[in-house]
C-alpha cells in the first residue's frame, strides 16, 4: 500500500424530512428502520473486511448522520476500526442537523471521536430557513454552534446555502457576518441549485420558482470569497472556506485529486485503482444485496487516462491550488500544457487562470466559471 491514505465515506440516508432542494439519496425512516440500516452497514463493512486500503479519514455524510443514535455511530466506528485498516490518527467527520445537536449529543459525538462537526445551518435568516424547508430555527443553529465550540472539536464547520430567489448582495453579506460571528473554523457556502425531481424542480417547471440569474449568482459567489477571505477564512475550493489549512476538509480533498476512497451505504461511490464503482441508490435493494452476502454495487467504470485527466481539470480548477500539470503528466502521461498552450495563454490574458510553477491556478473569476473552463481543454 504505497498510495496516500484513503478516505472512508459512510452514507446515512435518513432525514426527518426531505428538503425541497435536495437530490441526494435520502429517505425518511423511524428508529427501527435506522437500526436495521445500521445492521446492514455493519454487514457491508464486513464484506470489505481486509480491503487493501489504509484509511485516515472517516466521513459520516447523508442524509442526516446525526439522526443515528450515538451508540449506533460508536458501533459503526468500532467495526470500521476492527475490520478495515485505519491510520493511528484517523480524522472523523460527522454531518449534523442543528435540531439534533443538543448539548448532550454534541458532547457525546466528541467523546466517540468525531473531529470535525459539520452543522447544516443552511441559513441564518428565518425567512431563508423557512424557504429552504428546514426544521430548525436561527437560534437552534446558534446554540448548536456554541455547544460544538464548547465540546472542543478540532473543527466546527457550518454549511450555508446562498443564491435564494431575491437574495441581494447585502442580504448575503449580513448572513456571512452572522456566520462569522458564531466563531466556526470552517464554512461551506453552497449556491442553491434547483434539480429535476425535487420539490423546487417541480416548482421551477411550473414557473413558480426561478433560479437566480447567473450574473447575480456570480456576484454572490465573489462576495463570499472576498468577504470570507478578508475575515481570515481563505477559500480553498469553490464552496469551501477554512480558518487555517488544518481546518480544511482533508476528506473532501481526496475526491479532488484521485486519492482512493471507499464509500459504504446506499448510493455511496468508491474510487480505487482507476476504477469507480457505486452502490445501489435505494436503501431496500441495498439491504437485500447485503443480505445475499454480496457487495451492494450497482455499477462501475474503469477510467481511462483521458477521463482521469478531464476529472482532474474539472475538480482541480474548482480549487485554489489549481491543477498540478506535472503530476498529471507523471501520473497519466498527458501533457496538457503543450496541447493547450494557446488556450492557456488566452485564459490567462482574460484573467481567468495563472500558470504558477507548473500549476494551472484559477483566479477568482476563473473559479466562478470553472465548469466551462474544464470543457475547453484539448485532451490529447
Amino acid at each position: 500500500m504505497s498510495e496516500a491514505a484513503a478516505g472512508l465515506y459512510l452514507h446515512v440516508p435518513f432525514c426527518a424530512r426531505v428538503c425541497p432542494y435536495c437530490d441526494f439519496a435520502v429517505r425518511t425512516g423511524d428508529a427501527a428502520r435506522r437500526a436495521r440500516y445500521v445492521e446492514h452497514l455493519l454487514a457491508e463493512i464486513e464484506l470489505y473486511a481486509g480491503y487493501p486500503l489504509r484509511f485516515d479519514t472517516i466521513y459520516f455524510g447523508g442524509g442526516t448522520p446525526s439522526s443515528l443514535a450515538v451508540e449506533e455511530l460508536a458501533r459503526i466506528l468500532e467495526t470500521v476500526r476492527g475490520r478495515l485498516a485505519c491510520a493511528e490518527r484517523c480524522w472523523v467527520f460527522l454531518e449534523a442537523n442543528p435540531e439534533d445537536a443538543s448539548r448532550e449529543a454534541v458532547a457525546a459525538w466528541r467523546r466517540i471521536g468525531v473531529d470535525t462537526l459539520s452543522l447544516g445551518v443552511q441559513s441564518l435568516d428565518p425567512a431563508g430557513l423557512a424557504f429552504l424547508g428546514r426544521r430548525h430555527g436561527v437560534d437552534d443553529a446558534r446554540r448548536a454552534v456554541e455547544w460544538a465550540r464548547e465540546a472542543a472539536f478540532q473543527t466546527v464547520s457550518i454549511d450555508l446555502i446562498y443564491g435564494l430567489p431575491g437574495q441581494r448582495p447585502e442580504d448575503w453579506r449580513r448572513e456571512l457576518d452572522r456566520a462569522l460571528a458564531l466563531g466556526p473554523q470552517h464554512i461551506s457556502c453552497y449556491q442553491l441549485t434547483i434539480h429535476e425531481g425535487t420539490r423546487f424542480g417541480l416548482l421551477e417547471r411550473r414557473g413558480r420558482l426561478t433560479q437566480l440569474p447567473s450574473d447575480e449568482q456570480g456576484e454572490l459567489f465573489r462576495l463570499a470569497h472576498r468577504h470570507l477571505g478578508a475575515a481570515g477564512f481563505a477559500g480553498y475550493e469553490a464552496s469551501q472556506f477554512a480558518a487555517g489549512p488544518e481546518h480544511r476538509s482533508r476528506h473532501n480533498l481526496k475526491y479532488w485529486d484521485h486519492t482512493p476512497y471507499l464509500g459504504l451505504g446506499p448510493a455511496a461511490h468508491s474510487f480505487h485503482d482507476e476504477r469507480r464503482w457505486w452502490n445501489l441508490r435505494r436503501t431496500d435493494p441495498w439491504q437485500e444485496r447485503i443480505e445475499h452476502g454480496e457487495r451492494p454495487v450497482e455499477g462501475e467504470e474503469t477510467l481511462e487516462a483521458r477521463a482521469l485527466v478531464l476529472e482532474s481539470l474539472m475538480t482541480g480548477l474548482r480549487t485554489y491550488a489549481g491543477v498540478d500539470l506535472g503530476r498529471i503528466r507523471a501520473r497519466w502521461g498527458v501533457d496538457l500544457l503543450s496541447a493547450n498552450g494557446s488556450l492557456i495563454d488566452r485564459l490567462a490574458a482574460a484573467g481567468l487562470v495563472e500558470l504558477d510553477d507548473g500549476r494551472l491556478v484559477p483566479t477568482l473569476d476563473g473559479l466562478a466559471v470553472a465548469d466551462g473552463l474544464a470543457a475547453q481543454f484539448d485532451l490529447p
Binding site: Q191, S214, Y255, G263, H269, R276, L310, V369, D371, A375
Partner: protein
C-alpha cells in the same frame, strides 16, 4: 389509328393537381388499391409534405372510353412552382392538351394565369376543370366568372369534379378523349423527340423521358442529342407505367423512356432534342431554353469531417437535378464547402432539405445572393454572386443587379400594405389592375435580392394568406451595393458576409449582430459582434461574459456524473465553429441566416 392523348395538368399550388392525378390513375386501374399511396406521382417526401411537385413525373394509362375504344393517356406531370417554370415548359412542349385545374373556392390565382399563358404559348388545347366542388366554400359560379373575366376563356363546358371524393372523374376522362386532340403521327420524318425530363437510376444510369414528335425511337439505334451534339447507343425504350415497361419502339406521338447507358444527368440537357444519328433531323424542336441559376449560396458541412459526404451527396443529387450548379468554395470560418446556384429560393430550400434528410448531413448555408454584374474602371465585366469575390470598391465603375417582374394577386383590401411592402423593397413601376370585383393584381419591378429576404413570408402575413406571388426575370439595373462583413471578436465570419444595397446595410448588419448575439452562448469573456463595411464599423452588439457557472458541490458521486456532462459538452463542441476563440454553434448560423424575419 391513334388512340393516344398527351396532356398535363396545370394548376396553382394546392388546387389539387396531385389528388386529381391519383384519381385518374386509380380510375384507369394504373395501380391496385393495395399499393396506392395518395399522390403517387409526388414521389419525394418533401414534395409530399409541401404538397408541391418538383420533379415532373409521367405515367401512361389505359382508358376504355364510352365509344368502346381503348385510349392510351399519357399524363405528363408538371412541377407546381415558379422556380421550376423551365421544367413546366418542357412538359408543356410534350403535350397536345392541358387540363387547367381551378379550385372551386380559391378561384383563379396568379399561377393559374402564368401557366395558362405558357400553355397558350405552346398552343395547347385547354380543358377547364373546376375542382373541390365538395367544399362548403366552393363557389362554382364565381369561379366561372373569373375564368371568363381573368382568363378570357369560355367557362360553359368546364368539367366539375371533386378529386378528393372521386366525383366527376368519368366525365373528365370522357372529356379528355373527346376534346383534347390526338398527336400528329409522322413516323416517316427524321426522328425528333423532346427530352422533357431525366432522372437517375442507380442500376440503369440516366432514364430519359421523352415525347416523340416525329419518327421512331428503337433500341439499338444510335441517338444524337442535337444541342449538345453527343451520341449514345440506345439500350432500351418503353412506356412509363408505374414501373418501366419495355416496348419495341416509341413511335411519333408517344411518350416513354429511353435508356442509353448515360452516367449522369449532367451529360444530358433537359429540353434537348433526340434524333437518329444516322438520319438526323435538320433542326431541333423549338423552345429550348437553358435553366439559369439566379440564387446563390454556399453550403458547408457543419462537421468538417462530413465534407467527403457532402461531395458524394451533391454528386448524387445533381444526377437528378440538372438545374443545380455547384463549385468548390471555402471559408476560413467554415472550411471547405460549395458555392451552389439555384433556380430560386424554393429550389434552395428543397436542395437543403434533401441533403439534410436523405443524406443525413448537417449543413450551414451562407446568406443567399443574387448575381451582380460589375463593370470595372478598366472596362472589364465581372459577374459576382459570392461576397468573397467582390472586388475592391475603388476599382468598380458600375454595379448592376437583377430585377424581376413580380405579380401579386390578392383581394382588394390588401392593396395598401402590399404596395407599401413593394416600395420598401425598392419596387419600381408599381401598378395594379382589377381582375374581377374585389380581386386585384399588382405588378412591380423589384430587385431579386429584395425578394430573397422574407418577401414571401411578409406578403403572406400582410395578406393573411390570401396573396399569391409569382415572378419572372426581367433585366439588370444599376445599383449601389456594399459588402457587409460580420466580425466576432474582430475576426470576420466570412460565411456571414453579404452584398446588400447601401441603404439597407446598417439595418441588416445590426440585425445580423443581434441575431448572432442571441444565438451564441455566453463565454468566459466578453464577445463583441460587429458589422462593418470595409474597415468601418456600422453596427455593434456585445455578449457579456459568463459570470458564474461553477456548480456548488463536487464529491464522490458527483464526479462521474459531472464528467459525463462535460464529455457531452466537449462532444457538442466538435459541432461548433471556433472564430476568434468564440465557439459558435450551428444553431447560431441557422438563426442568423434564417430569412423569416429580416429587418
Amino acid at each position: 389509328m391513334s388512340e393516344t392523348r398527351n396532356f398535363c395538368i396545370i394548376a396553382h399550388i394546392d388546387h389539387g393537381k396531385s389528388t386529381l392525378a391519383d384519381r385518374l390513375i386509380q380510375h384507369c386501374g394504373g395501380v391496385d388499391a393495395r399499393s396506392f399511396r395518395d399522390q403517387i406521382l409526388d414521389s419525394m417526401d418533401i414534395e409530399r409534405e409541401r404538397g408541391i411537385t418538383i420533379k415532373s413525373n409521367t405515367i401512361t394509362l389505359d382508358y376504355t372510353a364510352a365509344d368502346g375504344r381503348t385510349y392510351q393517356l399519357n399524363l405528363i406531370d408538371t412541377p407546381g412552382h415558379v422556380d421550376f417554370s423551365h421544367e413546366v415548359r418542357r412538359s408543356l412542349m410534350s403535350c397536345e392538351g392541358a387540363i387547367l385545374l381551378i379550385d372551386a373556392s380559391q378561384g383563379v390565382e396568379a399561377q393559374t394565369v402564368a401557366n395558362l399563358y405558357l400553355a397558350l404559348e405552346y398552343e395547347l388545347e385547354l380543358l377547364i376543370v373546376i375542382n373541390k366542388i365538395d367544399l362548403p366554400s366552393a363557389d362554382v359560379e364565381r369561379v366561372r366568372q373569373e375564368i371568363e373575366a381573368d382568363l378570357g376563356l369560355d367557362p360553359s363546358d368546364a368539367v366539375l369534379v371533386s378529386a378528393k371524393e372521386g366525383t366527376g372523374i368519368p366525365d373528365l376522362l370522357e372529356a379528355i378523349v373527346r376534346k383534347l386532340p390526338p398527336p400528329a403521327l409522322d413516323r416517316e420524318a427524321p426522328t425528333r423527340a423532346m427530352l422533357f425530363d431525366a432522372l437517375y437510376d442507380p442500376y440503369r444510369g440516366v432514364v430519359l423521358y421523352c415525347r416523340v414528335k416525329e419518327g421512331v425511337i428503337r433500341a439499338g439505334q444510335t441517338m444524337r442529342l442535337m444541342h449538345s451534339a453527343k451520341e449514345h447507343h440506345i439500350e432500351e425504350v418503353g412506356q412509363l407505367r408505374l414501373k418501366r415497361v419495355p416496348t419495341a419502339e416509341l413511335g411519333a406521338g408517344s411518350v416513354g423512356y429511353v435508356l442509353a447507358g448515360i452516367k449522369t444527368v449532367r451529360d444530358v440537357e433537359v429540353g434537348d432534342t433526340l434524333t437518329d444519328a444516322e438520319r438526323p433531323a435538320a433542326e431541333p424542336l423549338p423552345g429550348y431554353k437553358e435553366a439559369k441559376p439566379v440564387v446563390f449560396s454556399s453550403l458547408y458541412p457543419m462537421a468538417t469531417d462530413e465534407y467527403p459526404e457532402l461531395v458524394k451527396a451533391l454528386e448524387k443529387l445533381v444526377l437528378n437535378d440538372a438545374s443545380l450548379t455547384y463549385e468548390k468554395d471555402s471559408s476560413t470560418a467554415l472550411g471547405h464547402g460549395f458555392r451552389c446556384g439555384f433556380l430560386g429560393l424554393l429550389h434552395l430550400d428543397v436542395v437543403q432539405e434533401r441533403l439534410t434528410r436523405e443524406y443525413d448531413l448537417s449543413l450551414l448555408l451562407s446568406a443567399p445572393s443574387v448575381r451582380y454584374r460589375i463593370t470595372l474602371h478598366n472596362g472589364t465585366v465581372q459577374w459576382v454572386d459570392n461576397p468573397s469575390y467582390y472586388p475592391d470598391p475603388s476599382v468598380i465603375a458600375r454595379t448592376e443587379e437583377p430585377y424581376i417582374k413580380g405579380s401579386v394577386m390578392m383581394p382588394e383590401r390588401y392593396i395598401g400594405p402590399v404596395m407599401e411592402l413593394c416600395r420598401e423593397r425598392r419596387g419600381e413601376n408599381i401598378e395594379f389592375h382589377y381582375l374581377a370585383v374585389g380581386r386585384v393584381e399588382l405588378t412591380a419591378e423589384l430587385p431579386l435580392a429584395e425578394v430573397l429576404f422574407d418577401f414571401y413570408d411578409r406578403l403572406k402575413s400582410i395578406t393573411q394568406g390570401y396573396g399569391s406571388f409569382d415572378y419572372a426575370m426581367l433585366d439588370y439595373r444599376e445599383t449601389d451595393v456594399v459588402k457587409i462583413d460580420i466580425l466576432v471578436n474582430t475576426e470576420p465570419v466570412d460565411a456571414l458576409s453579404q452584398l446588400t444595397h447601401r441603404d439597407k446595410a446598417r439595418a441588416r448588419a445590426l440585425h445580423y449582430c443581434e441575431r448572432l448575439a442571441e444565438a451564441i452562448p455566453r463565454h468566459q469573456f466578453k464577445v463583441a459582434i460587429q458589422g462593418a463595411i470595409g474597415g468601418k464599423i456600422i453596427a455593434r452588439t456585445n455578449i457579456q461574459a459568463l459570470r458564474k457557472d461553477v456548480t456548488a458541490k463536487c464529491y464522490g458521486g458527483d464526479i462521474t456524473r459531472k464528467r459525463k456532462l462535460l464529455e457531452k459538452q466537449k462532444e457538442g463542441k466538435k459541432r461548433m465553429k471556433t472564430i476568434g476563440a468564440v465557439e459558435i454553434p450551428q444553431s447560431a448560423f441557422v438563426a442568423v441566416l434564417k430569412t423569416d424575419t429580416d429587418s
